[in-house]
């Protein structure tokens, strides 16, 4: 079994599905000869040809709109938006068409497509390359928004996203593209969409996170364990539609909930999770719900990036504060 990084796992899943299903095509800026600026599609054009790994002209709305057209014909395009900060020219296509096609044609036309985009901060990137705007798309009915946190999940969730009959926005936390390796067998086994995963079982506090922040969250859980605090860690994975039941079950057990996210706090996915816990699980709570998040600021340019990003210390401080409620 090969040990692969998250980005290699994405590549492996793409290759696996392209091998299995001739309707799967990859397209985007620089995905062909260059194999993608992060190498997500490395080697795929050589293997599957330029008809199936398509270098597009530089136009994001076009990438989305053309993918919609192809998907309406039953093809399964996996489109890359080079950075999530460049997805906004495609927002009209994504929100007004991709999310709604099944609904507005009463199921006559469906769009089995994936739009991939690297997102999040922490790699000293130029402006507009580091934001965490997953909540914008999680707010749109008709879309699925999926964020893998590690190589195994990236492989299994990408397979599921490609096979899903509906459009999926697949956001890849680029800060952890190469931070860890997992042994991932290329066996075509998917992780289900719409499911959150209990990464680590615990009894005192539930730490809820997704994407790159899972790494800080897990480190915090290690430290808390040394302090005698048993933390359960949930990888949300599919941020829309949210699997709130897994979160509620955990909170019912621990009585404490702390949400850790990189995005700004206000109007975020963390807000939604907190509201769901408050609506449906408030009587199980021993302490107020906590949120550690990015600040409600513009994502700073990289010299202040570390000041913005939630750290293990911030997670620990908040967890300890919540633990003070008995």
């Amino acid at each position: 079994m090969p040990a692969v990084t998250l980005i290699e796992a994405v590549n492996m899943a793409l290759a696996h599905e392209m091998e299995q299903d001739k309707d799967v095509v990859a397209l985007g800026e620089d995905v062909g000869v260059n194999g993608g600026v992060f190498r997500a599609t490395d080697g795929l054009q050589e293997r599957f040809g330029a008809d199936r790994v398509i270098d597009t002209p530089l136009a994001e709305s076009m990438i989305a709109g053309v993918s919609i057209g192809m998907a309406s014909q039953g093809m399964k395009p996996v489109a890359e938006i080079q950075f999530m900060g460049f997805i906004f020219p495609a927002a009209d296509q994504i929100i007004c068409h991709m999310a709604r096609m099944r609904h507005r044609t009463r199921g006559r036309l469906t769009l089995p497509m994936v739009m991939r985009a690297p997102f999040g901060g922490g790699i000293h990137a130029p402006e507009h390359h580091s934001e965490s705007t997953e909540a914008l798309f999680a707010h749109i009915p008709g879309l699925k928004v999926v964020i893998p946190s590690n190589p195994s999940r990236a492989y299994g969730l990408m397979l599921a996203a490609i096979r899903d009959p509906d459009p999926v926005i697949f956001l890849e936390p680029k800060r952890v593209y190469r931070i860890v390796k997992h042994e991932v067998e290329d066996n075509g086994e998917e992780y289900p969409l719409g499911c959150s995963f209990v990464d680590r079982e615990g009894t005192d506090i539930t730490l809820i996170s997704w994407g790159a922040m899972l790494h800080e969250t897990n480190q915090a859980a290690d430290q808390l364990a040394k302090e005698g605090i048993s933390a359960e860690v949930i990888d949300v994975a599919t941020v829309s539609p949210l699997d709130i039941d897994t979160i509620l079950e955990s909170v019912a057990k621990t009585g404490r909930a702390l949400i850790v996210q990189e995005a700004p706090k206000a109007g975020s996915l963390g807000s939604e999770i907190a509201a769901e816990i408050a609506e449906k699980g408030v009587f199980n709570l021993l302490a107020p719900i906590g949120r550690v998040s990015g600040y409600d600021t513009v994502m700073p340019y990289y010299r202040l990036e570390k000041q913005y990003m939630p750290t293990v210390d911030r997670v620990l401080e908040e967890a300890r504060r919540i633990m003070e409620y008995k």
């Binding site: 709305s61 053309v66 014909q73 507005r104 044609t105 009463r106 009959p165 509906d166």
Partner: protein
């Protein structure tokens, strides 16, 4: 200094505003009386449908509706060039072409009557629903054509856009990618002179909209959009080219919107005096009728019989539309995804429960 690129845009008209051929070199369709009568029927019918839809809106039985009065030769003309296997990706004022390709009048009315079931075309299964955001449809058309090309299919795609819509990025992006990938798609620019209240001199510095194709390396031509023979001849050729690997074409059809933008608009606020009077002398339906008469193929009796028949067809569609009850509240949920997420099930139940009380 050397010239590295030049371009020409050609304008084609076969039948003038008086119904007279402008050349002896007419295309075969100009002599196909049965075809012309059929196109005439369809133009008369779409005008009656638009008129009826307007009346429905004015009496509170229909939402906002975009008539295409004066532009019937564009939609009927290019729509008639599609075969069943081709795919139509229409724009919001595209009812004439949609009906040519199998969408029913009842579906058109149902859609503008606020019901998504109007986009569940029973006889045009691959066609797109109309795109309300302007120009987005051009990219869908390119994508459909790309799928056809990858699969080696000999069929083609047609899409339509208003001249105002060609100012949008999606139009340029679509024509650009269609050129690069040599896609089998035809872009019809319905130049009806008005983008709601904005005329062409505020929309573009180009002499023609067709020349926007040139910058993408795509053939661009201009036809008299009130001459259905010119529209159809150009479209037949472009679709044939598209189906056979010849790549995309942009066809600008020059016409005039003889109605308001939609039922929510009042064109008297911006339309110059005299434009309508002049426009009605050049409109496409009378023109074709005069031409048919000149061929000895149309009489007063034919006209009366046609008007009566078409009125009955339109009324039948209107009756069917008016007799269709609103969809069930759960329809809001049932086509969101292949499978409704568990967390939304309770909302669905609530909508059903509350809907039952109404």
């Amino acid at each position: 200094m050397t010239t590295v690129a030049t371009f020409d845009i050609n304008f084609t008209q076969f039948i003038d505003e008086n119904g007279k051929p402008v050349t002896d070199d007419l295309p075969a369709i100009a002599k196909d009386v049965d075809l012309l009568k059929s196109l005439y029927h369809d133009m008369v019918q779409i005008r009656q449908l638009d008129t009826k839809a307007y009346a429905l809106q004015r009496t509170g039985k229909m939402g906002t509706y975009p008539a295409a009065t004066g532009q019937e030769a564009v939609g009927v003309g290019y729509g008639s060039s599609l075969t069943k296997d081709d795919v139509l990706v229409p724009y919001y004022r595209g009812q004439a072409a949609m009906i040519q390709h199998g969408v029913t009048m009842e579906e058109v009315l149902l859609y503008w009557g606020g019901d998504e079931r109007g986009s569940d075309y029973q006889n045009a299964k691959e066609d797109f629903p109309i795109a309300v955001p302007i120009a987005t449809q051009c990219l869908h058309a390119a994508g459909v054509a790309k799928a056809m090309k990858l699969r080696g299919e000999k069929r083609a795609v047609a899409t339509e856009i208003g001249e105002g819509g060609t100012s949008e990025g999606d139009f340029y992006e679509a024509v650009n990618v269609a050129g690069i990938w040599n896609l089998g798609v035809v872009f019809i620019i319905n130049n009806n002179q008005w983008a709601i209240s904005v005329p062409s001199e505020i929309q573009t510095a180009c002499e023609t909209y067709a020349q926007k194709a040139i910058a993408a390396g795509v053939e661009g031509i201009q036809v008299d959009g009130n001459d259905i023979v010119a529209v159809k001849a150009a479209m037949d050729k472009a679709m044939d080219k598209a189906r056979n690997g010849g790549g995309p074409t942009v066809i600008e059809c020059v016409t005039l919107r003889l109605c308001d933008h939609t039922t929510a608009d009042d064109a008297r606020r911006y339309r110059p005096e005299g434009e309508l009077d002049d426009g009605w002398t050049k409109e496409p339906i009378i023109r074709l009728r005069k031409y048919l008469e000149s061929l000895g193929a149309w009489s007063e009796e034919d006209e009366a019989a046609l008007q009566e028949k078409v009125a009955a067809n339109v009324q039948q569609a209107v009756d069917n539309y008016l007799n269709t009850p609103a969809d069930k509240p759960e329809a809001m949920f049932d086509y969101l995804y292949a499978e409704l997420p568990e967390r939304t099930l309770a909302q669905r139940e609530e909508a059903i429960r509350r809907g039952a009380k109404k």
